[in-house]
Amino acid sequence: MRRYVILGTLLAVLCGLTIWMTSLGSVGIFRVAPPGKVLHATLRHLQIVATAEALAILIGIPVGFIVTRRGFRFISPVLIGIANIGQTIPTLAFIGMAGVLLGMGFEAAVIALIAYTVLPIIRNTYAGIRSVDPAVKEAAQGMGMSKWQITARVEIPLARPVIMAGIRTSTVVNVGTAAVAGMIGAGGLGEIIMSGLAVRVMAVVIQGAAPTAALAVALDAILGKAEDWTTPRGLKVLKQAQWQAQ
């Protein structure tokens, strides 16, 4: 309950700040971004995040899954190594390099974001599938489940909480990285932040920064709830039992 109060307050403060700054109209000789532009930039930002995230999920889960299979397991150290190291590259550096390599614009930004946000998804899918108890898989196999049945009825349900956690992390990272992607002409809230910084008008910076923060907080909360829904009940009981045992 307390979590929701804090969350609600935080979102209210961030939205309030945005509305307040927008209502100023102008600061000195500079006009702040009009309401329509802020709204449009927010939607654009969501669009970038959603596109990149959806594609990252579509690519990341199958890739993370395939490298757990016996025939592809030899790739996994390399791939998981890349996923781990890739995430240590600062977003600003990553987007900067992407701009140089891919050029400017929406598509270039989305491709860069996919490359960056797919990493936690691959890593968590791999870890989730690998963490399934071998005894459980052996029992499933010994009782005559086909490979597909083992994947669909045993491996995926058991790995789902870990995969969902990966999606959640990557989405939050994505919101922040998308703001940086404004730098390479993707549009979105990053563009407002940059224009504010260029003319050193803090009200404009806040017009871009506060909605970005609000988006990250809101999406994290929503996906946290989704993570909870998709966790099988038996695993929640397990977690609770382990927690009580401590």
Partner: protein, 390 residues
Amino acid sequence: MDYDPEGRSDQEETLIKLENVSKTYTDGTEAVKDLAMEISEGEFCVFLGPSGCGKTTSMKMINRLIPLTSGKISIDGVDTMKLDTNELRRGIGYAIQNIGLFPHQTVEENICTVPRLLKWPKPKQHARAQELLHLVGMDPDIFLRRYPSELSGGQQQRVGVARCLGADPPILLMDEPFGAIDPITRGRLQDEFLKIQAKIKKTIAFVTHDINEAIKMGDTIALMREGVLAQYADPAELLRAPKDEFVRDFIGADRVLKGLRLLRAKNVMKKPPFLVNVGEDPMQVKRRMEEAGLRWSMLVESGDHFLGWITCEDLDPSRLIRDVITPPSVTATPDTPINEALSLMLSSAIGTLAILDDDKRLVGVLSFDVIRDVLSEDVGLEPPCEKVST
């Protein structure tokens, strides 16, 4: 001397047949070499041996969890290679040491794994889950909807056994199913499983490295060593006539003591040599006992109803025999295994054990002398004649 007849004598038809089965792993290890054996219908066959002897590999080749390198395994005359792997496995119950219950499924869903794969109707699945949970001694009303993490280790193991019986397969493969639990629970589960097996009469291939478990559970024991069958015999035969040095070492120096478990009181008890009837004259009894050199004697009423013990010192003319009875502290039944009987005798002061039937009638006695005769192996562990001929 008679032998324990329970389930060991009936010769059924061969159900599982292994012919020249070999397994060589890709790294060159020969896990199983040219194994040939037959498991009869309803037989509880224990694969026994030290780690790395190929016992688990042999068992897993039966349901093709491990593919054979060469040879042939047939079930009921059908070559397993000619069957679809998943169909084959669904027809064979499978239980493992680490249980491998599905943590995200309820006890009911776990038990119904194979019935669901076989697309049984829902009500039939539910009824089956209830029946099986009942069979393994758990209350369906309490446990059907629980998750594995809400169960104790012993309860999980019971559910594992119930699950492997899910679709009522004629064959069960069990890989150290009672290995990972504490000795007390293990003993209880073993007893319960033997009772269940007496009812359901499955053909079982059971892997263990514990010789005591093998002797207790198995109708036959396949003792393996480095991928080769060292000896395949019933427990008594294995204990009485170890084929070679390896078998002898594996069984251990206490093989004669281990063999006691296979005998029951009724097989070795003697007729009571000296009985006192409750109405007899005390002084006369005392004289008879002194002549026979006995300190203790058994007291009966109306021929064979056992009352207790009397001792010379307590007998005197002024008291009736009925008033000087020492009630028996321990007694045994004809079905008490000799190892337990021996332990009872060691714990009582008299050192002679009265064997009573269900109506408390005295049917025999066991003394250290009788058991010593049993202990000398050529007398005691001689199998009955028909066993020698088979």
